[in-house]
Symmetry: D2
């Protein structure tokens, strides 16, 4: 059994990691940690786990690791994660970091997006960006995976296969994304109270959300090999889980794009390209590690891509476990479901 | 025009008071106050008011009143409200207090429910409990109305007419109530985050919620003239507005109870007794100042009453304005709608 | 008093019309009509009206009009509305038609959008497109207003002032819109069941939603005076009311666009341009007849406009009443609130 | 591998059965059937299954079974289920019937609850009522399990241990239950449209919901061995999944009741008794097969029990699979999770 630690265990991504570990035949939860909630029993802070590890006490972030931890998931705020990751690596743990801290090989992008110099620049060269379907080999041989952001995952999966062709007009991409509220985290804030979110929708993060740097950097690295602009508008909507990206593309021969996507992902268990002209809904992927992609051609030069993920699974904890499976040479699907929990 | 002040203007009840004042032909908003938000423009903290009084600056609670304030609504936490009310009365304002501070002529009940001695015991004798349909005369001649709690309003309106008869077995009352989340207020708390409330229901406040003392005290004072026990379980459900009370009653001749309710409220614009056997939904009263009441007879000794209100209107701001209308001898319905905003 | 008829009174727009008429000082509801629900009392089919006109019996669509009807609102399916409108006009009623039947002076667009030849082509020349803030004079002197669609209202209000300049690159407009579910109507369909909509978001209507023809026709007629393409993707989200349009614009000098919008709407009671850089949420306009508009500049050539309306008010019943006020030379704001019902 | 058929595969319980079968290591889906949807691919009607069995064609209910079906789940309307069950048993299938058709050994109760004589009275003696934790042995040796209703499951699990003592006053039980909307099924009805359910709560089914007969019959059979009355009021609330029962009990020594429940369920993987005084929320059990039970003592004679289940899992498909595991002598927990999908 692989011994596992979860940092940030009292948050929403942490809760989802713990549920997945509970269902994983080769993993065992040995250490949980949380900031504000340190000292409480895990069962006190997570209403959903029943008796599973309910008596584990939440350590604070600096407490010594429990024995036998081989793998750590760090679901901590950016900035705070880096030091914890460094310490864990030094102790011989392999780490999947769900924060933004190691997503930017280009440290200028990190500084521009997060407004501060990188706290552990040396480590960034070790990190592998964990977009599982695009980085399998590198993930399999690293000790540190930088788990992608939810928005970048939802945008890069549909976009990369097309960016690798010369069919897109790369100056005319527009991304309009919509997210459930769990992405905003569990810290008490007026803006995410039930009555502020319910029965309302709003755009936020303009003119430039942090994830735009991440999308652009990895669209370049994995897709088109040149700088690219991906103007991006996120919205928050009244649901807990789910993320939908509507991607407006201009280019040549859009009627060929469906086949390109379809072929690229034909054998992927967690990426599904719908038949041409059909569009996905987030309700169908909630509770699954799946990304569903649809494409509709508008005219000779324009098409609309729509992708759906569960922001806590393929957009966070699910992809993190997929990456851990790759790191430890386990079945990539172990502990993960391609079926949604619906309705 | 009656000059009006709203204390607690940045909260949910405050927002609703301001909307109602805006639509009231004889009232003018002259002073707004808020704790944490003091110093901000009203338009910054309330997304809904458009240009109406948007440039008013939120005073802090101790700032001098603007000129020409004849009436103040105080929507402050219990305990904090009492001192403000005392000051306002001393300055010649008439006050409708939406807190719990003046709802208990029996100061022992106040102490038991709120865990502290009453901060202004002398003033409590001046206050009139503002259950509008049952206290019109007294409200019309007081300077201080204690606006009822949302749960007590939803329970007392259907219950009082029956308590005035000798038909009920007063030892066998049970109240199971369900509330939208706006009643929990706008202060940031983990427990009222969108993701904690959405897709979940829970009971809370057991074994004895504060409003049980209020229900019991006023059931006695206005209903049966003797001590009475009203075991009460509130629940919080994933909606913003609305409150439904399911009241289990045991007694004699329940088939006569519908007529008793129907006659009592026949001429009331804001209380509607549905035809026998029909039950209301909160969706039909949201946005209105109405209380809808239904009754179903179960057998020779048992019946179920169901009442619905909008917790922010008949359960808070709406009844407060109704009481203000009575205090100033205006049309009781002025500024209030008996129609819901539906769907 | 103006006698009013509502056709389609049992639907969501019908319910909202009746609520507004109830609050209008110069209107009186005299006739209600519904298809499937004919023969029922109004109070049976609308849970929200309390005692207001609850005893009116829903006529079927072909029954003779009650006496004294001066104004009819027709909230019927497209295609079905035209014949009713013709009959009403022939009887001397003035009509605000909420269907799509009279929105297209260009009958080719009607045919392309609705898949059938127009049933009353002669009447279309009489109709005035009721985008209130842009057509006041014409509305004041017509007997037939074609009330705009919800999506076109949310898009044309922010777009028209800019289309009237030569600053926009009209080949680069993209509209991504999100709607609450009430726009889908009250007829039972699997796709709009609670469990299908809740906790999900989806795009629909691609490659070309019917409202795109309407937007393009009126963007030309009222804005740029030449054919224009407005690629448009609607989404349905889990809330009842509210519509948000995110409009991606490319052109020259976007830093000047806020002032253009601000000046155009400075005196409009129901259109509010937020300070530069601020963005609206639908929660702030729900229950109001307001359209809130925000703009964020992205770079030297790109900006994002965001507009919010309540799809049942400024997007349907509210604008319909605003137009009726104009037709009858009443105060344009009569019976309408610029404040939202929040939260 | 056990070959499995699902009748009613296009509904909400059917979808959940298929998800569970997909995750069961010893089951294989071989036959799916649906009424209105017959002829479609499974992937067309269930948005959540991805590629899992997506190409299976929905048979109609009378089509011959696919080869190798050992076990059938029938999620059909009451009345319609009985004939299908009879046919399946005759073909040698073992059946878990999720309808009400075989829940009533007392056929008078069936007739009173469902308004018709039982269509297959002879079969009823073969059926075992599948409240898993109370009927393990009988379930293990039958070919026909009558899967309990969601409300009875949520009420019997907390109630039976206490009914087996002589501590309860059996004339003073009251059950107030609240359900998510998925229990109302996937057939298009106006009453379960998103806009009718969202932001509203209502009681229904009074004076006597069908499940009351079931609760009372099995409270007698498995609990107190004498006729008992369980007055029951269900409510529908705006969420998809989840059911909470608030059970008001009167009797002797309520401070001893927690221990009775705790001991009875100490070793049960899917029933959890919370520490005394703590109460569960449905959000914590959604997505799990767990029933959480809390108890609060009110005074010397009164206590409140609160139980929570996911109505589609422990209240339908989950318990059905638990029963199938028992019938086939598999690990009772196989394919089922005690952890919820949260948030």
């Amino acid at each position: 059994m692989i011994g596992v630690a979860v940092f940030g265990a009292s948050g929403y991504a942490g809760a989802e990691l713990i549920r997945l570990i509970a269902g994983h035949p080769e993993m065992e939860l040995r250490h949980v940690s949380a900031g504000r909630m340190a000292g409480k029993r895990l069962g006190e802070v997570l209403p959903s786990i029943g008796d599973y590890c309910a008596e584990l006490i939440l350590a604070d972030g600096t407490a010594p690791l429990a024995d036998g931890v081989d793998l750590a998931f760090t679901a901590l705020p950016h900035g705070a994660a880096a030091a914890t990751v460094a310490r864990l690596l030094a102790q011989g743990c392999r780490v999947v970091d769900l924060s933004a801290d190691f997503r930017h090989p280009n440290l200028n992008n990190y500084r521009d997006a997060y407004g501060t110099d990188h706290p552990q620049p040396a480590l960034t060269t070790q990190a592998v960006y964990g977009l599982s379907e695009w980085q399998r080999e590198a993930i399999g041989s690293t000790n540190l995976v930088a788990n992608p952001g939810c928005y970048p995952t939802s945008v890069l999966l549909p976009l990369l296969p097309l960016l690798q062709t010369d069919l897109l007009n790369c100056d005319r991409i527009i991304v309009d994304a919509k997210s459930g509220t769990s992405g905003a985290g569990r810290s008490p804030k007026q803006t995410t109270l039930f009555c502020e979110i319910n029965e309302s929708i709003a755009a936020y993060g303009l003119p430039r959300h942090r994830h735009q740097w991440e999308m652009e950097e990895w669209a370049e690295n994995l897709g088109c090999n040149r700088p690219i602009s991906i103007p991006f508008t996120p919205h928050i909507i009244p649901m807990t889980r789910g993320m939908l990206a509507t991607i407006y593309l201009h280019g040549n021969d859009p009627s060929s794009w469906h086949a390109i996507l379809d072929q690229r992902y034909a054998d992927e268990p967690f990426v599904r390209v719908l038949p041409a002209g059909q569009l996905p809904a987030t309700g169908g992927v909630a509770g699954s590690n799946r990304c569903d992609i649809g494409i509709v051609v508008r005219d000779d030069h324009n098409a609309v891509l729509v992708s759906c993920i569960d922001n806590l699974l393929k957009g966070a904890a699910g992809q993190a476990l997929q990456n851990a499976n790759l790191m430890f040479a386990l079945d990539e699907q172990s502990g993960l479901s391609p079926l949604g929990v619906w309705p």
